[in-house]
């Protein structure tokens, strides 16, 4: 038994020496005075050794992938930690907190932060920072994608991804994390497979478990895990067989002062909810597949068939999934659904400013523009705003200077407008910055790119499924400069 202890110490010692070597870098005394100072230092401390020169940090080869994960809430507390290898002290997060302090906004924390012995790669989702600790050359995108998958899984399991939800389900969270990553290699990240290994908590199941003493861990190997269609389990049964597809498009655009479009692009997705018995094989064809020249598919889509015939052919996963996402960037294809007339002016020497904003529908193919929300960060010098809205309600936060106007639906006969005056600090000079207007909106039953599904067919199963396709257009990052 003692020998084992010995071994352990030896290992620890050798690790220490390698770390020492890593920091044993020389630094030049840059100035004469500094050199002299170094000479007078006691010789036991080797002169000039410093950790300042450690960016980029040197890492050990061979220890790949994600080492640890810390979850940090918006008030800067670590509320969960998971280590896949040896335990990394949570003090490593101090570097993250430093960066967080430096950043003016929570979202401005840089995603990759070097520390003397590790790298921290973080994403911010649902106001929680997911901070991964890595020790070696790992593709950062790999880590970021994995973290996203973790967030998606939590959301999938607990409905929301909040600190409370995670704390409430900490054991499931731990089991999930262990299942998702083995030694830093992603093991199972498909929600279907995970759900078979670890059953999501439901109120009913918790009650049943406490009564019967059964568990929420699957006892069987997931069937789909190793089949040719890993994303689908076998033996799926439904009484109502249905397949719904949502075509959702978001317009990202920058409109300049004069109303002309600087950039406009569409980020589209087709999300599906498929509840079909057995092993259905679906094909989906479009009226105008040429629109889709930049697409990313779910792994279930047969790429060859798409290349050759422009038809989506796939065996769908069970339940909700994203079938494809696409990107339309060529500008003549992107219609701009609303126009904005604005006049924001400040007169030199006066402590008042004018504000006028009118919205109108543009290229909407006759569909109504709904759920319109206008927001804008007014100049810092604005003390207060006194507006009147022809419809909807507006709020102005004098602290953050954020103006937001909930317009609702645009009536083409009576265009919504917001007019009024802004008061400035007395004697302050005219603000330099021009506020940008951010617009959110929704248009039902239309994909703004004009994408239309032609038909959906099912092979491989005998029953007749119920099929439905819905279109929707939203504004993504839709910005109007003034």
């Amino acid at each position: 038994m003692t020998t084992i202890g010995c071994n352990c110490r030896l290992i620890a010692a050798s690790v220490q020496t390698t770390e020492k070597e890593a920091t044993a870098l020389l630094v030049f005394p840059l100035k004469e005075e500094k050199r002299e100072k170094n000479i007078t230092e006691p010789s036991t401390v080797s002169p000039g050794y410093s950790e300042d020169c450690l960016t980029p940090l040197r890492v050990k080869p061979g220890v790949r992938m994600i080492h640890s994960l810390f979850l940090v809430n918006s008030s800067g507390d670590i509320f969960l930690e998971k280590h896949w290898k040896s335990v990394v002290s949570r003090s490593v997060c101090d570097y993250f907190f430093e960066a967080q302090e430096r950043a003016s906004e929570p979202e401005n924390v840089p995603p990759v932060i070097p520390t003397p012995h590790h790298y921290l790669i973080s994403v911010l989702r649902h106001r929680i920072y997911f901070v991964a600790v890595i020790q070696s050359e790992v593709p950062p995108l790999f880590v970021i994608e994995f973290l996203h998958r973790v967030v998606d899984t939590f959301q999938d399991y607990f409905g929301v991804c909040t600190e409370a939800a995670i704390k409430d389900n900490v054991v499931v969270v731990y089991e999930l994390l262990e299942e998702m990553l083995d030694n830093g290699f992603p093991l199972a990240t498909e929600s279907n497979i995970l759900k078979e290994l670890i059953k999501p908590p439901t109120i009913l199941r918790t009650v049943v478990n406490t009564i019967t003493g059964s568990t929420n861990v699957g006892e069987q190997l997931p069937t789909g895990q190793l089949s040719v269609v890993p994303w689908r389990r076998t033996g799926v049964k439904y009484t109502n067989n249905e397949a719904y597809f949502d075509v959702v498009e978001e317009i990202d655009a920058i409109i300049d002062k004069s109303g002309s479009t600087i950039t406009a692009e569409i980020q589209g997705v087709i999300d599906a909810c498929v509840k079909l018995t057995g092993m259905p094989d679906l094909t989906l064809s479009f009226m105008n597949p040429r629109l889709l020249d930049d697409v990313s598919f779910h792994p279930c889509v047969r790429f060859k068939r798409w290349e050759a015939e422009r038809i989506l052919s796939f065996i769908p996963p069970d339940g909700n999934f994203r079938l494809l996402s696409y990107h339309v960037s060529s500008q003549n294809l992107v219609a701009i659904p609303v126009y904005v007339k604005h006049n924001i002016s400040f007169r030199e020497g006066s402590s008042q400013g004018r504000f006028e904003l009118t919205l109108g529908p543009k290229q909407t193919m006759g569909k109504a523009v709904e759920a319109v929300l206008v927001s804008s960060q007014l100049p810092r010098g604005v003390l207060n705003a006194n507006f009147s809205a022809s419809q909807g309600t507006y709020t102005f936060d004098p602290v953050t200077k954020m103006l937001s106007w909930d317009v609702g639906k645009i009536n083409p006969q009576k265009l919504p407008s917001l007019k009024g005056s802004m008061s400035l600090q007395a004697g302050a000079s005219k603000p330099d910055e021009n506020p940008t207007i951010n617009i959110q909106l929704k248009i039902q039953q239309m994909a703004i790119s004009g994408l239309k599904v032609n038909r959906l067919d099912m092979y491989g199963e005998k029953y007749k499924p119920f099929k439905g396709i819905k279109y929707m257009t939203k504004a993504g990052k839709f910005q109007v400069r003034t």
Partner: protein, 950 residues
Amino acid sequence: MTDSKYFTTTKKGEIFELKAELNSDKKEKKKEAVKKVIASMTVGKDVSALFPDVVNCMQTDNLELKKLVYLYLMNYAKSQPDMAIMAVNTFVKDCEDTNPLIRALAVRTMGCIRVDKITEYLCEPLRKCLKDEDPYVRKTAAVCVAKLHDINAQLVEDQGFLDTLKDLISDSNPMVVANAVAALSEIAESHPNSNLLDLNPQSINKLLTALNECTEWGQIFILDCLANYTPRDDRESQSICERVTPRLSHANSAVVLSAVKVLMKFMEMLPKDLDYYGTLLKKLAPPLVTLLSAEPELQYVALRNINLIVQKRPEILKHEMKVFFVKYNDPIYVKLEKLDIMIRLASQANIAQVLAELKEYATEVDVDFVRKAVRAIGRCAIKVEQSAERCVSTLLDLIQTKVNYVVQEAIVVIKDIFRKYPNKYESVIATLCENLDSLDEPEARAAMIWIVGEYAERIDNADELLESFLEGFHDESTQVQLQLLTAIVKLFLKKPTETQELVQQVLSLATQDSDNPDLRDRGYIYWRLLSTDPVAAKEVVLAEKPLISEETDLIEPTLLEELICHIGTLASVYHKPPSAFVEGSRGVQHKRLPARSGSGESAESPEAAPPAGGAAPEAAPAVIPSQGDLLGDLLNLDLGPPTSGGTPAPTSALQMGAMDLLGGGLDSLLGGDLGGSPAMGTGFGGAPAVMPASLNAPVGGGLGDLFDLGGGVGIPTGAYVPPKTVWLPAMKAKGLEISGTFARRAGVIQMELSLNNKAMSVMTDFAIQFNRNSFGLAPAGPLQVLTPLSPNQTIEVSLPLSTVGPVMKMEPLSNLQVAVKNNIDVFYFSCQYPISILFVEDGKMERQVFLATWKDIPNDNEAQFQIKDCHLNTDAATNKLQSSNIFTIAKRTVEGQDMLYQSIKLTNGIWVLAELRVQAGSPSYTLSLKCRAPEVSQFVFQCYEMVLKN
């Protein structure tokens, strides 16, 4: 009923309570207790004290409980190794379970327990699991091999697991293949020369097949592995590209970027006129654009990589400028990256759009971003010549806004524009001068002063302007002071009549009242120039300046090539070579883009490139540079100084460097017409007097060479000096390549360096420092590089070393860690010196002392070596060794064997005694070494071998 209840018990007796619950008879209670333990673990509490109790819960048929216990074990096994052994039996049993889930779980957990003792028990179950009928178990076992290798590499090799792992690449299940590849590449990473992933067309084919079927993560591993392969010809390259392109449509951005890496690399081999080449270029743009619509964190990484891609192949994204336009609510780190790429993509075709955008950004709120936007306008002007005028007018518009930091930034960039397009936009100077008072940042002030000085003849009140700055001279930063000094001197040279007083004033301020040496030196130089020869001063101060170009901010081509091979990695995010990220020299493998080659020709594989390491490889035998050349070089030198005073030194090509250095240094020092001044009238004769003293020795040495050569060409007169080896490759040091060797000449240890500038900019301000080392080697003087090292130039420097530096035992003993600094950065490398440079000249021992010492040193300290293939006779060997300060004290001949008794003394006073046995007619010598510090024996033997064989 949620898990948060597990957090509620935080009172003192918690551990005690848990202990009781863990030992409860009720299954349910046990499970709840383990859950509580796990919950405490997640918030970083130490629950290791419960180890034995938790391990007791392990033997259960409840899978959830088992999993939880396993989770606990992984966390704490390392701190409780003795206890962990208790768990081994259950592990081994679980590896035989009928449920594959449990088999996999057991083997997986065992691999995570990083305790040496456990690994022995792991081998058998692991071997079985690698051949398990269930692919889920196989794929888990594959990863386990990598884990085990991390703990005990030797064991993995001995047990043959690596071969089994290689076989798994041909597994029928794609997930197993992917995990095997992942495990192999992880192991290969730590053993760069192991040749584990021996890629050939067959295995590549297997990987490509698996690529289509495995999970997204597996695809990343496979693609990264493919990127290390070098196709034999363009056809193979094309076929791989064709099979990889579908990955560009993957939803996982890491897959996309890895695919881009493979394509960028293999594209290099395709002929440009091939149709497919064009198709591929077109296919690359959309996925890159799509990455920019993802979350900001992904965007950031994507942008850093796109930055590399647009530098390598600007044609891919040349029409996609608009996607890089900044949205006002992008995080700042995305904004700055987008801006950088916008400038790289700017061309005549899109400059109008770009400028309009940049002008828009200059009115944003974030100060950093605004500054960078203004700077970007200047960079556009320099990059796109046709747009310069438009850029200048945009900048003038911005200056009119009177926003303080915008104005200052604009002035700084206008200075750069003046440098690029001299005498073109002076009309704006008037506008600039209006803003003189608002400048409070040193950089902006310095820029403004430079402009005034440069165009002094066209600014009527230049003297007034500069004078106004002079009032607060001492409060200015050094940058401004230097600039002011130069500007006023320029002004004086242009308008000497009115400004004499001003120049006097600034010169005295700079030389008498300043304690900044740079400023003083510059002041003195100007002063002397002006007082001795105003014509020369004019030529020096008002000389034509080289134009600046946009090249300055491009990444150096060799580094860019390497980074392209590492797209998607941390290296690509930091734009630093991967070697900067990996500890030590192992694991560093420089990747290069493959050269284009036609069918049939084989391209050099990147794996074949020698791994560049910090430690210098064993010096390869090579001849001393041809002496004929050396002589020629010497004769070419127009040397007129007296020939006395040089101590004869062994031959060296390197000493010539010192001569060059001298010449070069003088040229620049005497630059201009100064050569004609009386002080220098005697020409070179007086030269050494003004040179730093330490240079005299090398000069003398160089002269000595001349005579040595004249005396007897071909006779080895000095100690053997190994040829130079590359210590610091250019790739690791921003274009500075250092090669060198060590020599001992006339009792002085010298480090002989060749500094080669492979970068595009001039290097100056060289300095050197050593880390503490075994024999206390330290530079005896500063590194004498007097002239700036211009691109593609090589300087030879000889650095005398002392042995009085701080001592620290190094591993290996003769390892020396060196840091070299220049104006760009500080670089580190390590090299090994032959221990023979430490053999001192008075190393001949008295016979009697030798005998006594030989007996006195215990026999344990004796080391024997064989020197093979040595064809020297005894006398020649004696002579050769003697010249390296290995002294023969006595010689004995016994039964046809010559026995040479030799002694060596090291600089630190250690004696090494040697017995060298030479069998007549046999090429093999036997060397016995005795020393009180036996660790040096190995190195002494290496010296023997080196000396005798060269």
